[in-house]
Symmetry: C2
Subunit: 112 residues, 2 copies
């Protein structure tokens, strides 16, 4: 067969994106790095892009996904809320389930 099926999923609210793969990756990087700027560096994206993504997520979420602090020792930082962590986990699980589902669907096709 040798064909592969791929997918991209995302969750929207009123034509604003809440979560997608990039956003989830960013939230994970924030969690492990403790700041948005370090998270951006770790993903090789500009701080600005990271900030825009995070801002967009926080705006379309029902509750805050991160707590951002500015100034102070170390300059500040950002950390995931419990809600944010739960969202990340939920998204990842749906995504994995989707992959499994699609692989199974593809294997039924005899034409390829």
């Amino acid at each position: 067969m040798s064909y592969k099926i791929k997918s991209r999923i995302w969750i929207e609210s009123e034509n604003n994106v809440l979560l997608g793969e990039g956003r989830v990756q960013l939230l994970k990087a924030i969690h492990t790095n403790g700041s948005l700027s370090k998270a951006a560096k770790s993903l090789n994206i500009s701080y600005k892009k990271a900030w825009q993504l995070l801002d967009s997520v926080n705006k379309s979420a029902k509750k805050p996904v991160t707590i951002n602090s500015v100034g102070g020792k170390g300059g500040g930082g950002a950390q995931l809320t419990a809600y944010g962590k739960a969202l990340v986990e939920a998204f990842d699980e749906i995504n994995k389930n989707c992959w499994r589902f699609l692989d199974e669907q593809l294997s039924r096709i005899e034409l390829l």
Copy 2:
């Protein structure tokens, strides 16, 4: 809830895309229009882009997906092969199944 989950799926072979939503849409338009140029017009894309897409599909498919004829009465035309039709149907079905599956997955999430 009011959140919606969306997806994009595609089938690849050795990092070339065989089918995706745009390609399938194009194949359908070829089938209903009888020519690539008319199909492109109906989709509001340039002929060149349509040709490149179709070429890519035919190159990564095991068997021809369209039969293209150049010259002659009416200038020529393009039509789907039986194999092409079968691929389109298979893709559409997987896609619909995926939508159903994802909606069902989303409905399990209580956080949203």
